[in-house]
């Protein structure tokens, strides 16, 4: 397993390098003037300052030179400097705890709620509960989630006053419940539906009949012989969903005023703040790859039929 993990990590290196280049290229290709972006709509910059900034951030150099300089810095552990003048490492250092907590919360919601709903729907197939879950998840899929976010803020945060509306001040978990929940809604329908299908598959499986014939109680059968087996495909979906989830932080962190990575990258784009976009973007990809490696390892533990490294 260790060797397998190592192998996967090695494979991640070209993917990550490719990612940095693609992002760098994309930011480079963005139309518009970064200096103008820095100055804002109502503010003017003197030509000398403009010139100084261009020099400082190598804005006039060709792409390859800039990327080369970036990689050179990367080798010495320097992630570059944001246009705001802060080192990117500091920007990331300050924001990742927020995204981490948000991601974990959302992931938990997605996993727990998704599996719960899917299980209920699967076990009560064709009954009202099933219809409610199926219908509900369909509606969730269709409603843009900034709409859900605003409505949730106003209803739960403002009108009911149950949870903080925004910000991180209340700390984990309080501050992260509402944004985490909204973020989880993004992938929740898929998780719930996959769980449901998986439960249905397993309900009819022969080994469940064996378990019944063994005289086990319904509870044991459901938990140990149906749910556990059904979760195997769900686990890999949960890994992939992390990608959507990290992507969603771009929106959610903005709406809920969370100073996380998603927000940093979101504000950095219009600023053409290449170093920040590349740094944060690559970090997000790295996290995704790592988590999916973990998920795959977990998969091997959950499903003994899949022996990693041999298959």
């Amino acid at each position: 397993m260790g060797r397998y993990a190592l192998h996967r990590l090695l494979m991640a290196v070209p993917v990550l390098l490719g990612t940095t280049f693609i992002i760098y290229l994309a930011v480079y290709a963005l139309p518009g003037d970064p200096i103008q972006a820095l100055a804002g709509p109502n503010r003017m910059l003197s030509p000398s300052v403009e010139q100084a900034l261009r020099e400082r951030f190598h804005l006039d150099d060709p792409l390859i030179v800039r990327y080369g300089l970036y990689l050179q810095g990367l080798l010495t552990g320097d992630l570059g400097t944001s246009f705001s003048g802060r080192p990117v490492s500091e920007v990331i250092g300050g924001s990742w705890p927020v995204t981490f907590q948000l991601g974990v919360t959302a992931w938990l919601f997605m996993a727990v709620l998704g599996v719960l709903l899917g299980t209920v729907a699967g076990l009560r197939r064709g009954k009202a509960a099933d219809a409610v879950v199926l219908g509900g998840t369909t509606v969730i899929m269709g409603v843009p989630f900034f709409v859900v976010a605003y409505v949730a803020q106003i209803v739960v945060g403002v009108d009911l006053g149950w949870l903080p509306v925004s910000g991180t001040e209340a700390g984990w978990p309080l501050a992260y419940i509402l944004p985490g929940l909204v973020l989880a809604l993004y992938s929740l329908p898929q998780v719930a539906r996959l769980t449901r299908t998986s439960i249905l598959d397993n309900l009819g499986a022969d080994h469940v009949d064996t378990a019944t014939a063994k005289g086990l109680t319904r509870r044991v059968i459901v938990l140990r012989h149906i749910l556990r087996n059904s979760l195997i495909p769900v686990v890999s979906l949960l890994g992939v969903s992390l990608g959507y989830l990290l992507s969603g932080t771009v929106l959610i962190e903005g709406i809920f005023n969370l100073p996380g990575l998603g927000y940093q990258i979101f504000t950095a784009i219009p600023q053409h703040d290449g170093p920040v976009v590349v740094g944060v973007g690559t970090l997000l990809v790295l996290v995704f790859l790592l988590v999916n490696l973990l998920v795959d390892l977990l998969y091997g533990i959950l499903d003994p039929r899949i022996r990693l490294g041999l298959g």
Partner: protein, 333 residues
């Protein structure tokens, strides 16, 4: 041995397992249509019949595995020493499973949970029915694996089903069934998926267990050779009914139902080499179609007018029943 005695209807002199007039319905199809058979301790009843004739469904109905929405038992009774399982509350029935009546499934790989170790799956029985601790149950599971001749049982107990060969899996399946010494074991085609040498091992193992514990064995198969080898009695099923019952030797020697006769004729035997095998023309009936009349009629060479009425089970000899109006003619030829 367990709680059977205390249940309503218990009658020590009744047959260990008796099924009567069992009806099972899947949607529109009356898949099991009045099955009757019985078996006593220490005896082996072979249930024969072609694919789809309802052998497995009957077995599953006995075990209580036929439940809506996947089919309903519409009528009949399944009695263990007189106790009707079908009217028993679910909890009481659950307690009887594996302790008094157990089942071996056809496809051992899919019948075992792929994500739990085999030791765990056997140990579960001891934990659920005997209330043993996880550790103690694990120890007993190893004993069971030993009993079914799994080499290095203690080590293999930690392995998962896919790590076993087909024969060993089936032995694990048998281990699951015999772990709690049930009085009745229903084996649903336990060797169909295996090749002959392994089949011989398995059948021998089952025979030993049966002799040792006086267990009643219901062996479902469509292998006429296996039946000839191990069965005391046979029940031949066709389209959801038992069309012929009796001692194995007698039935083989003089089948009284045209279907049984045709079945025996279809077996390739060395002496038939170079000749065409006897076949049963046509296809099995549609169980969802309208009933009434003998269901074998369209494929039967003995059809008479009376066959438009469903033939009752007629006693054709000592302990032998056949559901055919023309049994005399069939037996004579």
């Amino acid at each position: 041995m367990s709680s059977l005695e205390s249940l309503p209807g218990y009658d020590g002199s009744a047959p260990l397992l008796s099924v009567s007039d069992l009806h099972v319905r899947f949607g529109r199809a009356e898949v099991v249509n009045g099955v009757e058979y019985a078996v006593d301790g220490g005896r082996t009843l072979a249930v024969l019949g072609e694919s789809g004739s309802g052998k497995s469904v009957t077995a599953r109905a006995i075990m209580g595995l036929v439940r809506p929405p996947r089919g309903t038992v519409t009528a009949g009774s399944v009695r263990l020493r007189g106790v009707d399982l079908l009217t028993l509350p679910e909890e009481a029935r659950r307690r009887l499973r594996a302790t008094t009546i157990a089942m071996i499934f056809q496809d051992a790989l899919s019948a075992l949970n792929p994500v739990l170790s085999v030791g765990y799956q056997i140990a579960e029985l001891f934990r659920a029915h005997r209330g043993l601790s996880r550790k103690e149950a694990g120890r007993r599971a190893v004993e069971v694996l030993d009993l079914v001749r799994i080499p290095a049982a203690a080590r293999r107990a930690r392995d998962y089903p896919h790590q076993f060969s087909g024969g060993m899996r089936q032995r694990v399946g048998i281990g699951l069934a015999i772990a709690l010494n049930p009085q009745v074991i229903i084996a649903d085609e336990p060797t169909t998926a295996l090749d002959v040498t392994v089949q011989a091992q398995i059948l021998r193992l089952l025979g030993e267990i049966q002799r040792e514990h006086g267990t009643a064995l219901v062996l479902i198969t469509h292998d006429m050779g296996v039946v000839a080898d191990v069965a005391d009695e046979v029940a031949v099923m066709y389209a959801g009914r038992v069309v012929e019952r009796g001692g194995a030797a007698e039935v083989y020697a003089g089948p009284a139902h045209p279907y049984t006769k045709a079945l025996l004729g279809a077996i390739p035997r060395p002496e038939l080499r170079g000749r065409r095998l006897a076949v049963i023309p046509g296809a099995p009936p549609d169980l969802a179609g309208p009933g009434g009349g003998c269901r074998f009629l369209p494929r039967c060479g003995y059809g008479v007018e009376a066959c438009a009425h469903e033939p009752p089970a007629i006693e054709v000899g000592p302990g032998r029943l056949a559901a055919c109006h023309e049994w005399k003619r069939v037996a004579a030829q």
